[in-house]
Amino acid sequence: MEVDPDEPKTSPSTSRSPTQHIRDRNRQVAQQHREEQRAKTIDTVRFGLGEVQEEVEELDELSEQDINGLITRITRRKHASAEEMHKLSEAFLQSMDNIKLFFEAPGALQVIVKEIIGLDSGCQVGALECLCNLSLGEAPVCEKIIHQGGRNLVQCLDSPDERLKRTSLWIIANTISTSPKAAQTVVQMNIVPKLFYIYLDDSGEKNIANEFREDAAVCLQILVMGKNRAARQEDITFIKDNMIKKCRNSVAAEYHLKIIFHADIVNPRNEFNIEQTHHLMDFILGNLYTTPDFGSIANRLRIVYAIRVLSNMVQCVPTTTIDAMRQQLRGVWETHLEVLLNKVFDFGEDLLSLEVVYLIRNLIHDKSPQPLPCQLDRLEVPNIDYEKLLPQEWK
């Protein structure tokens, strides 16, 4: 007769010895821990609006009546269970109509927002995921989410629970990318320093299942981008003062130069101390030297923004930039600028090559300091139709 190894061999719990009881308890906790860890790593998948039906066949399709029923139930009780929020969350992911239905229901959003501050971690996660899918809606929906739950979302960023922190970052990214008004509101809650500290957080290795630093970088880049950027001048100054704390080898470092470039930190009005200049130069030359190809998005960010920031630096702070560049090229990387630029030309990307030409133009002009850090005869500029690529106003 076969014996099932999982079957307990002991008598019922009432007659178990204390040692056996502790062992059973330890096994139970270990099993629970494994379940939770598994849930943490595999259970979260992200989809755009309406994409979910194509990928997940077993998903329940909720009718308008079902959603109205859920809304009535949660608003009457002023409480939503994890299961109800999960259903709503799936409904929002399926269509914009479901989102509008919930948006127009008075008091429904408030119930979900209230669940974020509850003590039950399942409900907290459920509420945040519900808001995350709701934030796929249009600008008025996003503005309402930030108006009613923005403060709680910002507080969740301090949470030691990475899942809460990460889901909050997703909601913030969705809302600020949709509505400039929502972006301005979260900026007034002093979110930029908080995001930047999360982005700087150097603890632990990169974890694909739980990468909140990349999410923080995405939020930051949205806040600093555009002519009417949401970030205030004091936020930009904060980023400038603290940028040297970001290490080139740390997680999500590929966003660093993008944030600096779009925040317009390198401009003719700003001055940099030696430490800041060397920090930027380390990032720029390090990215150009160590990035092997132009395939992935991360590598593209590293290369494109290294070229753009360097191009502006040699114009705005020419002397210190060129001194720092010379020092690092000779002392750290043991190479020449021409070698790095030729490597970029070798990627065979026309528009990228044109941006390198912009950089060379800023390095070599009538007022440039002598001797130049770059010799034209060593450059392997590809022969492409630059006229065609130049913007209309320059032709």
Partner: protein
């Protein structure tokens, strides 16, 4: 590959100078190489997994902080409870605060006699509830207004609880004499644990 003369010709057709991040010359490369942010929702199977967990029994997790003893179904709930309720505990009155900054404010405002004297004298002593904001204001009321106007706290936010003060459901209209004693009243220590965060 271009010759030196051709490179010089090409460079002459390009203007020198600083280029702002919004300059049109970056548009084509942005479109080609840098994908725009795409809004994404989230779907999870966590609830299913949690439903399959064994039923909680009397031996399951419970909070061992004296006076709490709440039982939990899983360690994640216990962890959330501990962080929310017991992490930042005032050693004087056993009150729990949600963040280190608010615990600092609580100790100053409730247990520091030097603070009370200076606040009574009218000095700007009340720090903003946000750790990142360095503004100090002379009265709790002004701080409340600052938080609402500057940091967009909701007007019905439970400000009293943020630094360990009781939440008053029905507040009487304060008379002048009551207002004068407001600061002293605020220093009352409350034993219950608020649901903050």
């Amino acid at each position: 590959m271009l010759s030196v003369a051709e490179i010089i010709n090409l460079l002459n057709s390009i203007p020198v100078g600083y280029k702002s991040p919004e300059d049109n010359c970056f548009n084509a490369a942005n479109q080609m190489y840098i994908p725009e942010y795409k809004k994404l929702g989230v779907i999870t199977v966590a609830n299913e997994l949690q439903d399959n967990l064994p039923e909680a029994d009397e031996n399951d997790l419970f909070c061992d902080v004296p006076g709490c003893q709440i039982a939990f179904e899983n360690s994640a709930s216990y962890q959330a409870h501990f962080y929310n309720v017991h992490r930042y505990l005032c050693s004087v009155c056993r009150r729990c605060l949600p963040t280190a900054h608010l615990l600092c404010l609580h100790i100053l405002e409730c247990h520091d006699s030097y603070f009370i004297i200076r606040a009574k004298r009218g000095d700007a002593m009340y720090s903003c509830f946000l750790g990142e904001c360095k503004v100090k204001l002379p009265t709790p009321k002004q701080r409340r207004e600052h938080c609402i106007n500057k940091h967009k706290f909701p007007a019905n936010y439970r400000f009293e609880q943020l630094c360990g003060k009781p939440y008053k459901r029905h507040t009487k209209k304060p008379s002048k004499s009551v207002e004068a004693n407001e600061i002293v009243d605020d220093m009352d220590v409350v034993a219950d644990i608020p649901n903050m965060k």
